[in-house]
Symmetry: C2
Subunit: 389 residues, 2 copies
């Protein structure tokens, strides 16, 4: 049983680098690089939210722990925000401030999943959710959904097919990473009602809630507050990914358990990150998001047009079928061809059973860099590019 | 199986507030408060390491993720630091930058513990290690050790008694939190050699390595690099607890697994925290630590003298037997009496089977506050206080 050099088997089963095995090529590339493989933004955080703006004299506890639950003033601001967005009356005991949405989902998974239990994951899906479930001995069950289910009835049919007696939860994400699609209200309602009937936890990943270009975002928690975790991020919403701050809302009794997993995984979220988030909520964050949404919409539409794919409804990604350009080397060969031109994309298998897709993030770098990179990708895909673009 | 409102049983078994159930009293107390229950420092971080010192123009990626492994330049500085401290030639593949030492231990536990496996924990112990092991379905086995084992032979005897066929690891901490004792080199060597014979992982918590007042710190990893995780913190060492940055070193093959658990629990440590740590390592950190060590030594000696207990050999805590002052209300009653005077101490049972002890941190607040609080505690303990103190 004791066995240095061997990991716990459920951890060994997690893929290592989920985004790309091409990191060394990126580092070594001569010439312009197009790092579209990671979800990020070229924008700086809102006014007043840079680290240099956080004065020790104004925030004398900036270098000290907050309570594990989160800074009191931030928790209170989040109560107001949740009410404004969803209409739901939550208390601070429904909220946990975490080191990003990743940490929020990890804490929720750790609190509710026992080894061997299964979580249905609507696919294509955010890459890390697979490993998050595995870290606690759970079994992620990808359910090809986006582009498959096109009505409330078919949505329920698709998830029902994967239900077993060991299923304990359903993970969904809208606006979707990687496809950029927005789940319609009837589909979200049907999925939530089904999860309720089957007595499942719902993990609703809403980190792109602010980035809907067409349609509207549907909040899952008000539909089933007794079983829904809703995960939010300041990373994507406000250009603060490196600070590591987000939050998760859920039913009060289980949130007491999440405070335990959080305390024992990191103690408290970074205090400066929490203060920056608070300043964004109380200050210029809303205006920043309005402006960013328009910039992201333009970037997404522009990229989609060049690549000849439908424009995204939300999030910051395009998920592109590259089947027609794969040769005997498969997807790795195509990604290698891209890397040779300085272009880095995330491989489809990181998002579920998609061996012929790639994902690009069209907000990862400045629009001019994105434009040039997308033109290279269009050429590699053999797409005709009009001169205007 | 699906059961909203119920947590995974191994998480339910974790105690909620590990430090003190008296938080509401602290918030409500009129008059001077003596919050000695949390390990912290009154000092501000070293010169150049405040958030206001981190200029976006100088660190243009301050708001962006680093690689999950850690910022390259910080990893390289840590390779140099480890070599300078321990003589060990490590590479960056032996190191993971984490959101504090708590996160480092959590990632290590997550990577190597399978449900049902046991970890021996030298007690009294840092409170969170119990829940960290439980978060991954492991079973923490507290081994009363400090004050029990006083020779290499008795050290091995004591741990051997708790070994079972499910034991996979040994956790030890020197300088010790909560007792302030420093394990001697022969004892550390004997424990490591025994763990090696029994093929156990070693979790060596060395977050107070810089705060040894008597004797010397013994690094465990050079004695058994193939099985030892060594955990370090910038929180305690440099007055940056709220930033959340630390690091863990371990055998390269298993560190690849820790990078997975880290990626899936938080993705990357806070970038500003990593930059502050780097600046401390490259700049004024060493001088800061020298000065802090002397201040902490004085604070510890002063508190010990007033309380009539042996002066601490290291760390920032005193662990005090209060048995003689317990009445029918038990320890809770004594802690309540303290709280009524604005004094907050951590209860002994957080540190293992110690229902008649309390822990105080004598660096949590400014020396004048500590002095006044310790005088109150001495009075409550009925200790004679000389006029000098």
């Amino acid at each position: 049983m004791p066995r240095p050099e061997e990991a716990a088997p459920h951890v060994s089963a997690i893929r290592g680098s989920v985004y790309s095995a091409l990191g060394h090529k990126l580092a070594a590339h001569k010439g312009e690089v197009f790092p579209f493989h990671v979800g990020d933004t070229w924008l700086e955080p809102p006014h007043g939210c840079l680290m240099q703006d956080l004065l020790q004299s104004e925030w004398p506890d900036l270098n000290r722990y907050t309570q594990p639950h989160g800074m009191k003033r931030l928790l209170e601001a989040l109560v107001t925000r949740v009410k404004a967005r969803t209409g739901e009356h939550v208390g601070t005991d429904n909220i946990l401030v975490t080191g990003g949405a990743t940490a929020g989902l990890s804490n929720a998974a750790g609190a509710v999943i026992s080894p061997g239990e299964e979580v249905l994951i609507l696919a294509p899906h955010w890459p890390l959710i697979d490993g998050i479930v595995r870290c606690y001995g759970g079994r992620p069950v990808p359910v090809p959904f986006i582009g498959v289910a096109d009505s409330p009835e078919s949505a329920v049919e698709v998830v029902r097919e994967h239900l077993t007696e060991r299923t304990v939860g359903l993970y969904m994400s809208t606006p979707n990473n990687p496809t950029g699609q927005v789940l319609s209200r009837p589909i979200v309602e049907a999925l939530v009602a089904w999860a309720q009937r089957e007595d499942l936890w719902i993990f609703s990943d809403e980190v792109y809630e602010d980035y809907v270009f067409e349609g509207e975002h549907t909040y899952a928690r008000p539909l089933a507050p007794e079983r829904t975790f809703s995960v939010h991020s300041f990373s994507k919403a406000l250009g603060m990914a490196g600070y590591r701050c987000g939050f998760i809302t859920g039913p009060a009794p289980i949130m007491a358990e999440l405070r335990k997993t959080h305390t024992h995984s990191v103690y408290s979220a970074s205090t400066p990150a929490q203060v920056a988030a608070l300043r964004a909520l109380e200050g210029s964050g809303t205006a920043w998001i309005e402006a960013a949404r328009e910039l992201y919409r333009q970037a997404g539409e522009g990229a989609a047009k060049v690549l000849g794919v439908p424009k995204p409804e939300g999030s910051t990604f395009l998920f592109i079928d590259v089947k027609e350009k794969l040769d005997e080397r498969g997807l790795a060969g195509f990604l290698d061809d891209c890397a040779n031109e300085g272009l880095f994309a995330a491989p489809g298998p990181s998002f579920g059973p998609y061996p012929e897709h790639i994902r690009i993030c069209y907000t990862a770098t400045r629009p001019d860099n994105v434009r040039r990179g997308v033109l290279i990708l269009a050429r590699l895909l053999g797409r005709t590019v009009s001169e205007e673009t």
